[in-house]
Structures are given as structure tokens and as C-alpha cells.
Amino acid sequence: MSAPQGQFTGPQPSATAIFYRNIRWLRFVDRFGRKGSAAMDYLGGLAELAWETIRACVSRPFYASEVMTQLDEIGVKSLSITGITAFSTGMVLALQTAYALAAFGGKMFVGRVVALSLLRELGPVLTALMVGGRVGSGITAELGSMKVTEQVDALRSMAISPVRRLVVPRVLATVLMLPVLTALADVLGILGGLLIAVVELQMTAQDYLTSIWNQLAISDIMSGLSKTFFFGFEIAVIGCFNGMRVEGGASAVGVATTRTVVLASICVLVSDFFLTKLFLAL
């Protein structure tokens, strides 16, 4: 329905027109409010799970063998993708830096730029994004299908906490493995840069490595690595939360998996800014 059409009645819109215009406004406000409250519910649930997980991490019972399984599943099996990502990023960085610095004769800075960008930013963030994609989605898919086949309810009905049994091992494994994966990624990335420096830029390996070694501070390494603990926690908790709240069937699992990848990536990138700010201030 629309406002009545008719002859021109002056600058004042008719009462009916105002009424409908307001309705449209109210609908907008209503929809906005609904979305907002759903988002709040979601964030509240996420925070609640995060808190429960932390509490369950420091109290009994504790499923050590589950943690070991997940360390393998989450850590060891992610080695190849994070390694390849870091290695090629290191190579690209070396190429681009050499190209950008060539005009200033700054070839000797290539090693330093590659190492600093990798250690401080690209190593942690790229590894977290890759792990977020592989591990986060995997966790959601697994827990989501357990949820729809009532396996999560089965655990609860047997007086076993799904948070302790399913969430804690996955969160712990991710938090422990992400720094390890990042450290390896840093090394591989620097080696990638080395390959380019030697093959393309006619530098010696020694020049490249000493330029890194001489300029590197321990804080460069630590600020990068300490971020990854937070990233790991975010990825795993988001993955678990989205899995545990799946309702319905297989399509709902698919939707939840996508949501995990998107949300985990955004969280990693946004929190990276704040963590960087924090570590620079310390």
C-alpha cells in the first residue's frame, strides 16, 4: 500500500502519508533492533563459552589423551599449509622489497625488511588466518555434526560436560600449537627470502643472514609470538561455539562452518590491531 495519490494539497503531506512513512521507519528500527539483539545474544553466548572454557581448563576432570589427539589433529596436520604460506610470502616479500629499494641502492636491507615484517606481523597473522580456515572450520563441522546427531546431548545425558570433553581439548591444542606453527612459519619465511636473495638478487647467504641477525631484537620475536596465543584462543572458541549451537541438519552445519571462517578471520585481523597497539605501548 502506498500513500493516497491525488491532487496537490500544498506542502503538508497527508496524515495517511505520515502514518505510512512512520511505519516504514518503525519497521527499519524494529529490524535493526532484532539484528542487534541477535548479535548481542551471539556475543554473550561466545563470551560465556570462553569463560566456561577457561574455568574448565583449570579444574578437574581433565582429558589429557583428548588433548594429545587434538594437538596432532590441529597442530601437526596444519604444518604443510602454514609452511607453504610462509615460504612463499617470504619469497614475495624479498622480491617486492628489492624492487622498491633498488632505486635507493637498499638491497642490503632486504633481509631486515623480510625478517621484521614476518616476525612482527605476517608470520602470526597469516598463520592464524590459515589455521582459522583449516582448523576453525574443521572444529565447527565436527562439533556441528555431533550436535545434530545428538552426540552432544548423549554426552550431557551421561553426566559428562561437553565443554570439558570437546571444547577444552580443542582450545588448548590450538592455543599451544599456533605459536609453534608461527615460529616454524617465521623460519620458513626467512628461508624463502634467503632463496630469492641468493638466486635473484645475487646476495650471499651470509650477507642476508647477518643483516637480519645484527638488527633483530628479542622483542620483535616475542611481540609476534605472544599475539598467537590470543589468536589461537579466538579461533578455537569461535569454532567450538558455532559448532555447538548448530540446530537442524547438514545445511545448518555448512552455514555454521562458513560463519566460523569469516568471524575467525575478522577477529584475528581486528584483534591484531589492538594487540599490536598494546605491545608497542608496553
Binding site: 546427531t149 548423549a154 550431557r156 545425558s157 551421561m158 553426566a159 560436560s161
Partner: protein, 275 residues
């Protein structure tokens, strides 16, 4: 399988004792504004097999999930072993849940574990038994459900009926006081359904448990139930024995019986074999 003889008329079984073990009091539950349970009252007695009958979507499973606290009511009270389970946290529910077991519709076996690990799971979690004792108990429970020697199989290798029987073995591993069955025969062929029905009666007698069976399978209800409760429009419209029901319990129940091809209201009580 032993002990169960379908030729013995149901009335010949000894009457169960009268102690109330589970009690629903004016339980109301709404899902997105729709009232699924509208003030349900029900008393379940120790040792009996109670079948909850009703068309799909009437809240039978929801009723069942109230007993072990998987779902909490919006209003009313649910008491299990004389203790209210409403509003308890997961941790507070733990001691009650250990005395209960639930058989889920699809079995809900952990698909990352073998049959043996599945059945052993509650034993490992809640007892201090040695691995050997656990293995013995697992073997015993598996042969009780007629699946001896399947320990090494994965759930994905089993048929639907076998999966439910393994799940049943897992449910009885701790010899619970109450077993909740959620649609134990849905999706199974009549022969397997009958086998499951016999198992329910057999287990009820052997480990002296109370059984609550949610089903829309009338043949099954007739085979196993001491009493049945008919859920319709959010309330129990009829609670009583099967013969009372078929003699004319409630008009909607009659209609339901007839729609399932079950002659009733004539005073004629048939045996399972005639069906």
C-alpha cells in the same frame, strides 16, 4: 536373548510397585511462542514400562528430555527420585544423570570410537573398574543386546537396528535406575522393531529398571507397556493400561488407534500374533 515370552499375556506379569520415581507437575514448555506442553501432569512408578504415545510433533520427546534435564520447563516442576531437576545447572544435574540413561533416536553413538569404546565410555568415566573388568562388562552388555563379538566394529559399519542395540548396550552399561527411550523403533523394519521391544522388556526385568518409552508405534506400545500415556494438544489425554485404552480410553486416542489400523472400542483385545 532369553526370558521374554510373548505368549505370556501381559496381565500375567507381576504388578509393579507403586512408588513414584518421576513426577511432572503442570509442566509448560513453549518453543518460539508456541505452546508444546501445556500443563503436563504425569507420575511414573518405579519398575514399570510407561509408553508415551502420540502423533509426531506433539512434544513426546520434549517430555522425555525434561526428565534428565536436557530441556528445562518454562513453568511447572519435574521431580526425579523425589528431587526437583528444574533450574539445576549441568554440574548439579550430574548425580541424577548418572542414575539415568537415555537411548537417542539415531542411537547417538560416538562415531569416532569403536563399539567397544562406546559401550565402555560411561564405565570409564564414572567407575573405577580396571580395563579388564570394563572389557568383561562390555562383552556382557553386548551379548545381552544380541551383538556379541562386535567390539572392534565402527558405528558406521553397523545397520540402523544394530546401532540402536549398541546404543542400548551403552545405556545399560551402568545399570541405570531409569532408561529413557526416544523413538526406539523409528526407521526400523517390523522384525527388528519387535526384537527391540523384547529387549526393552527383557532389560526392564533383568536389571530392574524403570523404562519410559516414547513412540508412535502402537504395536510396540502394546508389546512392552505396563501403562501408556497419550499426549495430545500439550496434555496427557489418557493414562492407563493398553486394554483400558483399547476398550475406549479417549476419543482422540481411539481415532489414533484406528488410523494405525488398530481395531478398538469393541472390547476385543487381540494378541500380538493376530495383528
Amino acid at each position: 536373548m532369553a526370558a521374554f515370552d510373548p505368549n505370556i499375556p501381559l496381565g500375567a506379569r507381576p504388578a509393579p510397585p507403586r512408588e513414584t520415581i518421576v513426577e511432572f507437575e503442570n509442566v509448560t514448555k513453549r518453543y518460539s511462542g508456541k505452546e508444546i506442553l501445556a500443563g503436563v501432569n504425569l507420575q511414573i512408578r518405579r519398575g514399570e514400562i510407561l509408553c508415551v504415545l502420540g502423533p509426531s510433533g506433539t512434544g513426546k520427546s520434549v517430555t522425555l528430555r525434561h526428565i534428565n534435564g536436557l530441556t528445562h520447563p518454562d513453568e511447572g516442576d519435574v521431580r526425579v527420585f523425589g528431587e526437583s531437576v528444574v533450574g539445576l545447572s549441568e554440574e548439579e544435574l550430574s548425580p541424577i544423570r548418572r542414575r539415568l540413561a537415555m537411548l537417542f533416536q539415531g542411537g547417538a553413538l560416538f562415531d569416532s570410537m569403536t563399539v567397544e569404546e562406546n559401550v565402555a565410555f560411561p564405565l570409564q568415566e564414572h567407575t573405577t573398574k580396571s580395563p579388564r573388568e570394563i572389557a568383561e562388562t562390555v562383552a556382557e552388555k553386548l551379548s545381552m543386546v544380541g551383538l556379541p563379538g562386535t567390539q572392534r566394529k565402527m558405528p558406521s559399519e553397523l545397520s540402523g537396528g544394530m546401532r540402536k542395540r549398541v546404543a542400548l548396550a551403552r545405556s545399560i552399561a551402568l545399570e541405570p535406575e531409569i532408561i529413557l527411550y526416544d523413538e526406539p523403533t523409528t526407521g526400523l523394519d517390523p522384525l527388528t522393531s519387535e526384537k527391540i521391544g523384547h529387549l526393552i522388556v527383557d532389560i526392564n526385568k533383568r536389571i530392574r529398571t524403570t523404562s519410559v518409552v516414547v513412540t508412535h508405534d502402537i504395536v510396540m506400545a502394546r508389546t512392552v507397556s505396563d501403562r501408556l500415556a497419550f499426549l495430545h494438544q500439550g496434555r496427557f489425554q489418557f493414562i492407563g493400561t493398553f486394554s483400558e485404552a483399547s476398550r475406549g480410553g479417549h476419543p482422540v486416542l481411539m481415532e489414533y488407534f484406528r488410523s494405525m489400523g488398530f481395531p478398538c472400542g469393541t472390547g476385543l483385545v487381540q494378541t500380538v500374533k493376530d495383528l
